[in-house]
């Protein structure tokens, strides 16, 4: 096939690197994009009397946005996620700062690994083990009563507070990692230069360190938002179903009623919320810098 005089190898060379991107792209198209398209299509169908019907209607959307208790799931999800985010950032930032600037450099790697290791606690039992801590016969109440701080157990389990606690625990570790990674990239010479110019430590922090660390916060915050708003187990176990978040509403539709159209509507709504958040904080996001 190749022209005389032209080495065959050149042809092969040309091919291989040109085609290197294709497996990943095609895989993503087939197993990610097509399912999302299928989901959008199904969201306009209906499940009537236990049968899926290609009826092309916006009835599912009308139902989701028209019924307070379903729409409220969306509000709840957004509120819980934002609350989680705010508390996690407040806890993680000082931790990352201490790791980056206060811990001696030869200890840094060790303390960092120590800090994020429980990130790998088995996902399914993470919430369950919080339940063993905060329930009325749990470790925390038993300990507080034993040292005489309280005489009646505190009611901490089941409810929004417990859900947020479970989330905050996980995302504090994640945010500490992304913020730390960003802080250590800020050159020490900037701080020194600012100090030489007469800036006090507070000024250095607010004028230099903090602004330069925003990308680290943004990346962590975005990942937190994506994972938290789509998480089913944490609210299901710790929240005690005293309120419903969107993932729980989705699972109710799938597990109890096999109502894929309704579950699709809710899933698409969640995705749209994430896209909006992406555009709000997008200018700080450099995903490939993680």
């Amino acid at each position: 096939m190749s022209a005389p005089g032209k080495p065959v190898a050149a042809n092969i060379q040309f091919e291989l690197s040109r085609w290197a991107v294709h497996p990943a792209i095609i895989f993503t198209l087939v197993f990610f994009i097509i399912p999302l398209v299928a989901m959008v299509i199904i969201s306009f169908w209906q499940r009537i009397y236990g049968k899926l019907q290609a009826s092309w209607t916006v009835a599912n959307y009308e139902k989701f946005f028209g019924r307070d208790y379903l729409l409220e799931a969306l509000y709840n999800s957004i509120e819980v996620t934002l609350l989680t985010l705010a508390i996690s950032i407040l806890l993680a930032y000082p931790l990352a700062y201490i790791l980056a600037y206060k811990v001696p450099s030869r200890w840094q790697r060790f303390v960092l690994i120590l800090t994020v290791l429980p990130f790998w606690t088995a996902y399914v039992v993470r919430s369950y083990s919080w339940l063993l801590i905060i329930s009325e016969n749990g470790i925390l109440n038993v300990a507080l009563i034993a040292i005489g701080l309280i005489d009646q157990p505190l009611e901490m389990a089941y409810g929004r507070g417990a859900t947020v606690l479970g989330f905050v625990h996980f995302f504090t570790m994640l945010l500490t990692l992304t913020i730390y990674a960003n802080l250590v990239q800020i050159k020490a010479s900037y701080h020194k230069a600012a100090a030489d110019l007469g800036a006090n430590p507070l000024q250095i922090f607010f004028r230099i360190t903090f602004p330069l660390s925003i990308p680290g916060v943004a990346v962590g915050a975005f990942i937190t938002f994506v994972i938290a708003i789509g998480d089913y187990i944490t609210p299901q176990i710790l929240g005690g179903s005293t309120e419903v978040l969107v993932p729980q509403a989705i699972m109710l539709q799938i597990a109890r009623a096999a109502n894929f159209p309704m579950a699709s509507v809710m899933s698409i709504t969640l995705m749209i919320v994430v896209v909006i958040v992406y555009f709000i904080i997008g200018k700080y996001l450099k995903m490939d810098r993680i």
Binding site: A9, I12, Q13, F14, E15, L16, S17, R18, W19, A20, V21, P23, A24, I25, F27, T28, F31, F32, P35, L36, A38, M39, L95, I98, P104, T115, L117, P118, W120, T121, A122, Y123, V124, V125, R126, Y128, S129, W130, L132, I133, N137, G138, V142, H169, T172, F222, V226, G230, D231, I233, P247, I254, F260, S264, L270, M271, V274, D288, R289, I290
Partner: protein
Amino acid sequence: MIGHWKKNFLAVVYLVAALFFIYIPVVVLVVFSFQDGQLPVPPFNGPSLQWYEKMFSNDRLVESLINSVVVAIISSLLATVMGFLAAYGMARHDIRFRAGVRFILMAPLTVSYLIIGIGLLITLNIFGIPKSLLTVGLGHIVINLPLCFAIIYSQFGGHLRNIDWAARDLGASDFQTLTRVIAPVMKPSLFAAFCLSATLSWDEFIIAFLLSRFEVTLPVIIFEMLRAGLTPEVNAAGTMVFAISMVTVAIAAIVVSVNFGARK
């Protein structure tokens, strides 16, 4: 050393308090996996290995453990290879629709696992494809491919382009350059990408729950155990999952630091 800590008293207090908060669920989980009694709640009745014995004599659990390992290793391998090839292709050529290609490759990172799982479930239903470990693995590649791509791509610096051209000038084919020159240089990040994917797949629940049938993965079995009865066996299983993840992470951390350390 001590002087340093004294000066930073508040920092030390904060660090210790944070570590306490971060570790308390792990400690409780592990401690009550050794509970000598029927319930994983206080009082702690003293150490016993009975729940570990029970766990390892549970055939379904042991089978699911093997399934989990196989799915994690194979899906991570494929994700790493595809991510590596994609990163190579992107770094090597100014391909058309560059931004678009990157966007598509990274897009799964912005979508919740639950939604990815439901999308795949709907697709399987439409095409009548039965659920199995294969479909679980495909789901795990979807979530891990963008991570592998991002990790590996971020390490494709200018020096690799030079190495690439040098190898080429010396007459190496694309394939030779890739396998004999680039892959060895990239080994630490390939390994890091593989280990991260493996731990994420190993511990992934919702996609495995939605897309599996008889043969399930360990997190699905643990979830079933959680719904089936309050028992320290769940603590034992959770402790084991954590321990295996930790070992993987530790190996990755050591390999990466040794390799990166050597280059400095």
